[in-house]
């Protein structure tokens, strides 16, 4: 069992709007998969399905060996099973979503203390180590509002890592950042990839995608149109729509 994510015939609707169409995708342990596509193509929805922030209507989704229940079953409960899956899956959001009423250290320690029942001392030791890793140990006792966007996003990454996830999801982690801050966040992600973390990333940073990805997934109007090695995808895309998409984004 080498796949950490396994989607088979996954379908999602918002009312009558068909958002994800027959998605088949599997991600192996240690792999870095980058999902690209135009806005509104369903790439964020796809990644949010993996930790159950979005519900899907039919098909199957295995995460880390656990089956993610479809919407009908989730109506009946299953919050605990969901929490069990989420413990092993970290997520980084476009808008960072740090907890504004807690300091940086508290942001990082709250989940390990509540979910893994770690002591404060243990959790804080881990938090400081992680902050050092993302280069923010000096800001440990500030509030998120006192940090720049890039710093907040690095704290958000550290917060996810504190739960020792097997898989990290990144939902456009640099889209809300000023250009000069994108680099510092991408550097942290590069290091994570080099350490062998399994990552699924939605991004518009094509250069970064090409550099770190093991595979690129191109998605358009809710369907996966192409999956391939980065070099093959960027130099010689097979799909017509992928080609015109690349022509549009690589022009700048």
């Amino acid at each position: 069992m080498n796949a950490i994510i396994e989607m088979k015939n996954l379908n999602k609707f918002y009312g009558s709007h068909h958002v994800l169409k027959d998605i088949d995708l599997s991600v192996s342990r240690g792999e870095v998969v980058v999902v690209v596509g135009a806005s509104g193509s369903g790439k964020s929805t796809l990644i949010r399905c993996v930790n159950g922030l979005e519900m899907y209507q039919n098909g199957s989704l295995l995460v880390d060996g656990y089956p993610m229940p479809v919407e009908e079953d989730r109506r009946l409960g299953g919050e605990r099973e969901l929490a069990a899956i989420r413990k092993g899956v970290g997520m980084v959001f476009q808008q960072f979503n740090l907890f504004p009423h807690k300091t940086v250290v508290e942001n990082i320690t709250i989940a390990p203390m509540r979910v893994h029942r770690k002591t404060r001392r243990e959790a804080e030791a881990t938090a400081l180590k992680l902050l050092e890793r993302v280069g923010l140990e000096a800001h440990a006792h500030k509030y998120p509002g006192q940090l720049s966007g890039g710093q907040q996003q690095r704290v958000a990454i550290a917060r996810s890592l504190a739960m020792e996830p097997h898989l990290m999801l990144f939902d456009e982690p640099t889209s809300a950042l000023d250009p000069e801050m994108i680099g510092e966040v991408l550097d942290v992600m590069r290091e994570l990839a080099a350490d062998g973390m399994t990552m699924m990333i939605v991004t518009h940073e094509m250069g970064f995608a090409r550099e770190v990805a093991d595979r690129i997934v191109y998605i358009d109007q809710g369907s996966i149109l192409e999956i391939g090695k980065p070099d093959a995808f960027f130099d010689n895309p097979e799909n017509d729509r992928a080609r015109s998409f690349l022509a549009r984004v690589l022009k700048h």
């Binding site: 930790n51 922030l53 808008q95 907890f99 009423h101 709250i110 509540r114 979910v115 509002g145």
Partner: protein, 376 residues
């Protein structure tokens, strides 16, 4: 100085024809009124009635030889209020000066010969100040504030009960009613607000029904209903009128608290919940540690306003035969010997309500700026 005043008044009072007309009618009228009030206050009014009946105004028909119990209750309240204020205000020297002024006013009111009361007032103020100073200097104590509040309430009940809860009255009753209602309705209101967003529709409907019913009927009716229902529902307890009144007030105001908390909950972005969920936190932990603190930050100013509402509606307990502050004033006037002092007594009532009310408004406003600053 005079030139500046003239310039200022030409701009602000006599700028346009309409302004001139307004100023010429309002200003003399106001001055005349102020003169009349001042003249009455200094010459006609006979104020000795206030110190003479101060005990009735403050504690109603509570027996005089048991007054120490009331003092203990007042000191507990002072400590609690001081601690609550200490969370927001750093204690400074000028605050101490203000408190000394209050002490001086109280002594002037009671007459200087009454040394015991002056000493007790002084120690109450000292307790208030030290509560405030302690909590503003040692932030760790803040976590203990809510449990301490409940323990304080129980202690007050234990101290005040022996002579009979039916004897509670005066300003102390108004304050106790306000305190009990605002402290107990907070957790009840929070639970109702969360119940209203529950996943289970039965829960949602029950909470929504409760809130809507309470908000669409008059307070006085709820209080009256509880008063007549309690002996039927729980005859074995034989609850005193005061307790039944407090239950009625709490049930009524919980619905309002729930609405304020709900507006706070709506102000917390959905992404906060999502981020906490993605960390594997349970729904209970998310609500308690992530959503509620941020919601309360938004809801605190209206909640303090709610305390003022409770205090100002407290006189309505006369409907179930309780003697609150306002009713105590009327009781004094019912004495034929004092029948002609209506204006003096009502002026005192007015002033006291106004002072307490504006104090609460002031705190609410300061709290608002304080929280806005905290929300970087």
């Amino acid at each position: 100085m005079i030139a500046r005043f003239l310039k200022w008044s030409r701009h602000n009072l006599f700028g346009k024809p309409f302004d001139i007309l307004l100023s010429l009618t309002v200003i003399p009228g106001f001055l005349w009124l102020a003169y009349q009030v001042a003249a009455w206050t200094v010459t006609t009014a006979r104020w000795e009635i206030i110190p003479e009946s101060l005990r009735i105004l403050m504690i109603g028909i509570f027996p005089a030889e048991q007054a120490w119990r009331a003092w203990v209750a007042i000191m507990i309240i002072a400590a609690l209020l001081g601690a609550a204020l200490g969370c927001v205000f750093a204690f400074r020297k000028r605050h101490a000066a203000g408190l000394l002024l209050v002490l001086a006013a109280v002594i002037a009111l009671t007459g200087s010969k009454d040394l015991t009361n002056a000493l007790l007032t002084a120690s109450t103020i000292a307790i208030f100040a030290s509560g405030c100073a302690a909590i503003s200097l040692i932030p760790l104590l803040r976590r203990a504030l809510l449990p301490a509040g409940f323990i304080a309430l129980i202690a007050i009940f234990a101290v005040m009960s022996p002579p009979g809860a039916g004897l509670w009255g005066g300003l102390l009753l108004s304050i106790l009613l306000t305190l009990v209602t605002s402290i107990v309705s907070l957790p009840v209101g929070i639970l109702l607000a969360f119940g209203r967003r529950s996943r289970f529709s039965s829960m949602r409907w029950i909470c929504m029904g409760y809130i809507e019913v309470m908000r669409s009927v008059p307070l006085i009716m709820v209080v009256y209903w509880i008063w007549i229902l309690m002996p039927v529902l729980a005859p074995q307890f034989g609850l005193a009128d005061v307790v039944r009144g407090m239950i009625g007030f709490t049930l009524f105001y919980s619905a309002y608290v729930a609405e304020y908390v709900r507006s706070g909950l709506q102000a917390v972005p959905r992404e906060q919940t999502e981020a906490a969920r993605s960390l594997g936190m349970s729904e209970f932990d998310i609500n308690r540690s992530i959503v509620l603190p941020q919601a309360l930050r938004v809801a605190v100013p209206p909640l303090v306003g709610n305390v003022l509402d409770i205090f100002n509606t407290a006189p309505l307990v006369f409907i179930i035969g309780l003697t609150d502050f306002l009713r105590a004033g009327q009781m004094i006037l019912a004495n034929p010997q004092y029948g002609d002092r209506t204006y003096e007594v009502y002026a005192f009532l007015f002033l006291t309500y106004f002072l307490v009310g504006s104090l609460i408004t002031f705190v609410a406003r300061r709290l608002e700026t304080h929280l806005a600053r905290g929300n970087r």
